[in-house]
Symmetry: C2
Subunit: 158 residues, 2 copies
């Protein structure tokens, strides 16, 4: 589905999405129209979801981040989900298996804001919140090359 050239292009773009076609072309050994066409198709196929910019939340005044686990009260699942989506300080939310239904990332400017936001969910869900103290790994894509971890095994008797 993705050939080696595509992967190399992606690798370069992950580091700098504004790399010029010419530069990309030089690095992978193609002409720029070819690169242009490949990018177009990667976007078209949805492999590239977006070219975007990573902003330091601190620069916007968000001095605090938290991971919030959210367990909606019976019957409130959809309302809670909608509520979360509408609160822009939630910067990420996953619906997961297990007791916690949602795990979300929250950006806030102060502890007061944190409290204010959690209050808005409090009557519809139980939450448990963990403040982020450090970020050992900031968002990065999984390995692009097919050679991921050796873990590869099929479900079978071990």
């Amino acid at each position: 589905m993705l050939d080696d050239l595509d992967r190399r292009l992606l690798e370069i773009l992950v580091k700098d999405a504004r790399t010029s076609l010419k530069e990309l072309a030089a690095q992978v050994g193609l002409s720029s129209p070819s690169v242009s066409e490949r990018l177009r198709r990667l976007e078209e196929r949805g492999v590239i979801r977006a070219f975007t910019v990573e902003i330091d939340p601190l620069a916007l005044g968000y001095t605090l981040q938290a991971i919030v686990r959210i367990r909606p009260l019976p019957g409130k699942l959809h309302i809670v989900q909608k509520l979360i989506e509408e609160i822009p300080e939630f910067g990420e939310c996953d619906k997961v298996t297990g007791d916690d239904c949602f795990v979300a990332r929250l950006f806030v400017r102060s502890i007061g804001d944190l409290d204010g936001i959690l209050d808005r969910i409090a009557d519809k869900a139980e939450t448990s919140t963990a403040i982020i103290k450090a970020q050992p790994i900031r968002r990065r894509p999984p390995p692009l090359d097919a050679t991921a971890s050796r873990g590869a095994k099929i479900l079978q008797a071990s």
Copy 2:
């Protein structure tokens, strides 16, 4: 620190990091050299951490994502952190307050891989894993305008 023009530039770039200077200039009502200069300074100041591309993990064969909470055994904190950092399938990791020391996102191609990777940590930490079933909110930046949620309150008797 950031003026309105900067914020508007960021807003446009979040949606498409490859927007041309000319287009940016037109949208905010400046000349392109000015925009260029502003971007340069935003990068320099670290407001813009990177221009990057968002890749669909599925396109790379990662059919499964999980949130893993990790509690290193006594004395193993640093070893565990290093281990996590070295496993490229961890696409994000936060060090948090509370019983769980780390919360991480894991990209895998199969349940077998998931098991394989968790095994590598099993003797140094307790983990609890939640498989991601859906992503109500995919990574997005917090509000750029100063008018965040009304939550704003200072710590005080309520």
